[in-house]
Each structure stands twice: as C-alpha cells, then as structure tokens.
C-alpha cells in the first residue's frame, strides 16, 4: 500500500524554485511526486490547505538539545518533537553537551538518538576545541569524515586569534563551516545584560556592544586572511551588522544569523528582572533591534536561528544573576518572525521562508532540506496559518518552558509538519 498525501489549495512559498502561488502538492512514499497539475490521480489523504501557506520544512541552524548530559532540560527526542511542532524538519544540535561533542563518538550517539525518535533530522555540530576548553583543536577531521558540516564552540568564541587562524586554515581541507559565538570574554565578564542606561539603572553588570563587535571584526579579518568559511551566530549589535555589510561588499564569503528574540525584544524589557529575557548575547537597544530587522531585509543577515536553549524551571526561577542564559525557541520562531517582520512589511513571506529554510539548508549542506518543492524531492514540508492568533503559554512541547515570548500574543501557527512523508504534526498536535 502506498502512502499518498495531497496538500490541496495552499499557497506554496518556495524560494528555492522561486515559486509563490496557490497550488497542490502530492506526496507518495516520502517523496514529492506532483506539484500543481501533476498533483493528481489516485486516492490520497487530503489535507485542506485553503488559506494556509505551504513551505519546505524549516531548518534551524542554531539549537541546543542538551542530550547527552542535561536530559532534565531536554532530550534529542523531546527537542525533535518541539522542533516539529514549530515546523522544523531539521535542526542542528550544538556541541556544548556533557560530554562535549568533540569527537565522532558523541556525534554518532546524538545521531542515533535522533534516528530512534524519527521526528526530524538532527545535524550534530562538532566542537572546535577539545572540551570547549579553547586551547586545543578538537577532532575536526574525524568528525568531518563522518559528515559533520558545522563546527562551533558556541557559548564562547575561540579565545585566541592564533588558534582561530589555525582552525580556519585546517578546516579548508574539509567542506565545513566554522560558526562563532562572538563575545570578548574580558569585556563581557560577569555581564547579565546589555551595558547601557538600563543596566546602570537596574544595577546589573552589562556587556557593551563592543564585546561582540571586537570579535566579529577579528573573525572577519581572519576569515579574509585564511579563506576559511565563517558563520557568525546570533548577532545582536548594529556595529556587528555594519562590519558584516562591509565585508560582504568586498566579496568575503561569510554568513550571518539572527534570532527571533533579538528581532523582537530589547534591553528595556528587563526592567522587571524577568529571567526569560536573560540571554547571551544580550537583548540590546531598540536601535540595535531596528538595525537587525533591516539587516534581515537587505540580506546582511542570511538566516534565522532559534538558539533554542532549554533550562529547568528551578534554574530560571533563581535570582537574576544566578539564573542561566537562554530562551527556548522552536515553537515560537515562525510566529515571531511573521509577527515582527513579515506583518509590518519589513520582509516578504518568501524572504522569511528563505531565512528559515532555504538558506540554512544550503549552509549546512543539508541537501534533502530547504526545498525546492519539486517532484523527486524528499517530502519535508510545513503547512501553517499565517494569520492565526495565539497566546504563548504552557504547556509547551519542549520539556522546558523558559520562553521569552511567554504571555505574548503572536500571529502565525504551524498546523502540519511532514518529515520524509510522515505527518509528525497534524492540526498543531505532535503525532509522535
């Protein structure tokens, strides 16, 4: 018995094929077999997509799944389920687990956990340095051999220029991307939020924008020097964006990322000491947020990454300076981008899909993902209602509930997520 699903009458937005039109999509045995007129013939389960948008499954280029080590906060399985609920058919898993993913063994473990869960693809990221210690290179070659595409010490940057230079040089032997969390550790020492009027008034230690900009400049310079492939994670400061813009104008091959929460909030939101806004890099000024939005529009920022960072309730309920940094993000990302960027007209819906699916897939060399939605392609699909309004509140599909969007009303709701032909989310409810 073949499994056939017909997505009928949805607006198919697929930047990879430059397609944006209302049309039908037919899926059979995990593969797209028909689009438009060719999407017909035979019996099929029909999913009515009238008024809805159909896009290639989202791809998250920045997320933390916490397993191995902190399975209380999230597991590969629960994270996959939350990601699927957010419309993602592929996510990365950052290396700052316990043990750190600095060798093939941990990479393989995460992959097998993902395969067992079978809800979405998980691309483990390898650490750049052993144990994230910032001193010795991790087994980059060994991990690249088994298909690891992105390396990152996320949580911190590579501490010395000398080491990063060597990493860039060495990585050229493999088709990989070095992703950097740009933060000058001495300038940002002890920082709880952005350094500015609000940090002074709230009595919290702050990190100035320069803590990010200095490392962005350093990394861009080294990428230029070596020809290595740099990806700048979760940019937060307008100065960083200017540097990226200039670098791209000179033809440097670099990609830049922004998170939905940096595009939504600012340092003024911390006046109530709500730890859900305690994030690294910090939420900066409204001007920085505006610059970030404009950068997504003009292409300076290439991709949206959630930096999904689950933390336990006890940890986030502690005193502000005792609380860990981060917000979960899978389940709110699409809605946040639709509400804060698409709806006001800053970017088009197609651009949103491009930054959340097409381009991340390309950077990660995830050939099966990101579209195009054409016959022969694996059926990784998301269907969402672009205007459905909903309030962000528990229960979440994620194991954790530290969401910066808690209590906010967003517009845009994921209804169906199809992973390799399987409907893992139907009518907004996880099926696995």
């Amino acid at each position: 018995m073949t499994e056939r699903t017909l997505f009928r009458g949805g607006r198919v937005v697929d930047p990879a094929s430059a397609h944006d039109a209302v049309t039908d999509v037919l899926v059979e045995d995990g593969v797209i077999v028909g689009v438009g007129d060719s999407a017909s013939g035979g019996r099929a389960r029909v999913i009515d997509c009238d008024g809805l948008v159909l896009a290639p499954g989202l791809v998250d280029i920045h997320a933390h799944l916490r397993e191995p080590g902190r399975e209380d906060k999230e597991t590969v399985e629960s994270g996959s389920r939350a990601a699927a609920a957010g419309g993602y058919t592929a996510v990365v898993a950052m290396a700052n687990t316990d043990p750190v993913a600095d060798s093939a063994a941990v990479i393989e473990e995460v992959r097998s956990l993902a395969a067992r869960a079978g809800i979405c693809d998980v691309f483990p990221v390898g650490a750049i340095t052993k144990g994230l210690g910032g001193e010795e290179m991790a087994a980059i070659g060994e991990m690249a051999e088994i298909g690891v595409r992105m390396f990152s010490d996320d949580g911190r940057c590579v501490p010395t220029s000398r080491l990063l230079r060597n990493v860039f040089e060495y990585s050229k032997a493999f088709d990989v991307v070095i992703a950097e969390h740009c933060e000058d550790a001495t300038l940002a020492d002890g920082a709880q939020m952005h350094e500015g009027y609000h940090s002074y008034t709230l009595g919290l230690v702050g990190a100035p924008a320069e803590a990010e900009e200095i490392i962005v400049f350093r990394d861009l310079s080294l990428a230029r020097l070596t020809g290595g492939r740099l990806h700048l994670q979760h940019l937060s400061a307008s100065g960083s964006l200017e540097l990226v813009r200039q670098a791209k104008a000179t033809g440097l091959r670099v990609t830049a990322e922004a998170t939905p929460h940096h595009l939504a909030f600012a340092d003024e939101d911390l006046v109530t000491y709500d730890t859900n806004f305690k994030i690294n890099p910090p939420l900066r000024t409204p001007e920085d947020r505006e610059a970030l939005r404009a950068a997504v529009a003009d292409g300076t920022v290439d991709v949206i990454g959630t930096d999904h960072a689950p933390h336990s309730v006890e940890e986030k309920e502690a005193e502000f300076d005792q609380s860990p940094f981060g917000t979960i993000g899978f389940e709110t990302a699409l809605a946040a981008i639709l509400t804060n960027l698409v709806e006001p007209g800053t970017i088009s819906l197609a651009r949103a899909v491009e930054t959340m699916s097409t381009t991340p897939a390309r950077i990660l060399a995830a050939a099966d993902h990101g579209g195009p939605i054409e016959p022969g392609r694996p059926a990784h699909i998301v269907v969402f209602d672009p205007s459905a309004e909903w309030r962000v509140e528990p229960p979440f599909v994620s194991k954790s509930r530290n969401s910066a969007f808690l209590g906010k009303t967003l517009r845009g709701k994921v209804l169906h997520t199809m992973y390799g032909g399987d409907l893992v989310v139907v009518d907004g409810k996880p099926q696995r």
Partner: protein, 311 residues
C-alpha cells in the same frame, strides 16, 4: 502608595512627603519613655537578610517592634538558606507562616522583584545587590529636610563609587524627584557613563564641586575595587576624592556631611572629619528607625494589607 517598596520609582513625590510627615510622629514616639504604639499589633514582619547587615536589620527590627508587630529574623548564616534552600522555597515557607511584610536584603539585584511573585505580603527592599536601597534614601531625605528644611534646588553631591552603589542610585533618583540639584562625583571608572540620563550632573573634580554644596554625601569605597583596577591605589583615591580636613574647609557654612555607613575612615572620609558637628551620620541612623516605622505603618495600616484577609 504602591503595594511594595522595591525602588524609589515606587513612590511619588506626594508619597515621599507623606512618608516623611508620618515619620515625624514616629520620631516623637522615640522620645517617649514607652517607645511603642499598638498600631501594627497582630501583624508579622519578617526580616529576610541574605546579606549580613546588623545595622539595617536592627533598624527594621526595632521599627517593627515599636509598632507592636511580631518580628521574625531570617538570616543567611546557620539557616536553611545556608544549606542551599532556594529563594522560592524560603518565600513559600514565609508565606505559610503568614508574613504580612517581608523586608529583604539580598546580594542579587532584582531579588525583591522575584520575591513578589511568590508571596502575598508586602515586600520592602532593604538593599538588592547594586540596584537600590530605597529606605536609606528616604531616611536621608528625612535627615536633610529636618536639618535644612527644603529640597527644591538644594545642591547635593554624591561622591564615590556610584557605579556599585545601591544607595547612590536610590538617593539620586529620590533627590531628583523632589527637585534637588544633584551632582555625582568621583573617578570616571566608578561613574556610569549614562548617569546624566538620571537627571544629574557629573564631575570628576571634587574640589570644583565642594564650594557650591548644601549636602556632601559620601559613599563607601571598597578596597576590593582597587584590586579590580578601578583606580590605581586607595591612597590615590583618598588624596583625589576623599573628604579630607582641607576639603571640609571648602564646604560652605552649614553644609551637611552625610554617609550611609559603615565608613572607611581614611579612604572616602578622614577620621576627624567624620566626628565634626556637621557630619550627621548618627542622626541618619536615628531617623532610620522613624522612617522605617513610617513605611511599615503606611504599608500595613490600610485594608487588604493583612495576608489572611480578602484581597
């Protein structure tokens, strides 16, 4: 008045006048033989002190007892807190004990805000990290009003480590609110660059500021700041920014010298300067009890302030 007193932002100018006026009556109570009134009989006030502070805690304890309230002291050492009990669990325990008011001192900025999420009683901030210390500012205002009679256009300088001082923040906000002319002075490393947005002037030259002052307010400078390289040495700090005998001569006649305590004699203030008649630190302490009585009375003397009652 607001439900809680977490920062100076929680009180209006009218509130401040009311708090100070009411404190007058409590100061009178302090002159009686029986320094006690039954106003808050049956209420429970908890002193939740994560940071050791004998002076402030005793001040609040006396204030509550003189109002005939029951007082529970919860301090960080030798208690469940020392054993790692979370703020939340401590709060829920106090809630279960029926605390009508919780006075909290904590080393984390924002801890009082977090506390309000879990307790029904009124929360008073007795100092949270480097954020604010509103009751200190109010007792300082009381002292100034009592000695100088006014706030409007009063020239006040707050001198020292403003960056790390919760007292400086609360006092600057309060003084600006009541119309005083506030200058903060000290080494540039210890003054927040955005301070002018608070409505204050900034100076790095103490000698230039002193001759035009009605109140000279000194902040404690911790020796640890030298280790963190905010200034080269304590000696240089004292020489350039400390209130020495010579500097006192530069103050106009009648100007007050104030300090929240405890003092680092020989650093921000010379030892014999601290004992001059225009140095009113002892009055600040006495007034502290009256002002804290006033706050407890105003916060717990109205309806809906009983934890057991309807809200």
């Amino acid at each position: 008045m607001n439900r809680h007193l977490l920062s100076i932002g929680d009180v209006t100018v009218e509130d401040i006048v009311r708090i100070l006026d009411t404190a007058e009556s409590f100061r009178e109570v302090g002159t009686r033989v029986i320094k006690k009134v039954p106003a808050l009989r049956g209420r429970t006030v908890v002193n939740l002190f994560y940071e050791n502070s004998t002076r402030t805690r005793i001040s609040f304890e006396l204030a509550a007892k003189r109002l005939s309230a029951d007082v529970i002291n919860f301090s960080a050492t030798g208690s469940s807190i020392a054993k790692g009990e979370s703020l939340k669990d401590t709060a829920l325990t106090l809630q279960a004990m029926g605390a009508d008011a919780i006075v909290i001192r904590h080393s984390s900025a924002g801890a009082p805000y977090t506390l309000t999420k879990w307790v029904k009683g009124r929360v008073l901030n007795a100092g949270d990290g480097t954020h604010e210390h509103p009751t200190q500012a109010l007792l300082d205002l009381y002292t100034i009003r009592e000695r100088l009679g006014r706030f409007e256009s009063l020239r006040v300088a707050i001198i020292g480590d403003v960056l790390h001082s919760r007292v400086a923040r609360s006092l600057a906000f309060a003084l600006v609110k009541v119309g005083a002319d506030v200058t903060i002075a000290g080494p540039p490393t210890l003054i927040p660059p955005d301070a002018p947005a608070w409505g204050v002037q900034v100076s790095y030259d103490v000698d230039e500021v002193l001759p035009k002052l009605d109140v000279c307010y000194l902040l404690r400078v911790q020796r640890e700041r030298q280790r963190q390289q905010y200034f080269p040495s304590v000696r240089e700090y004292a020489r350039l920014f400390g209130l020495t005998r010579d500097r006192v001569e530069m103050l106009p006649e009648g100007a007050l010298i104030m300090h929240p305590g405890p003092m680092n004699r020989g650093v921000e203030i010379d030892s014999d300067v601290a004992d001059l008649p225009q140095a009113v630190m002892e009055e600040q302490v006495t007034n502290g009890i009256a002002v804290r009585m006033s706050l407890l009375y105003l916060m717990l003397g109205g309806m809906g302030s009983e934890v057991g009652g309807d809200d």
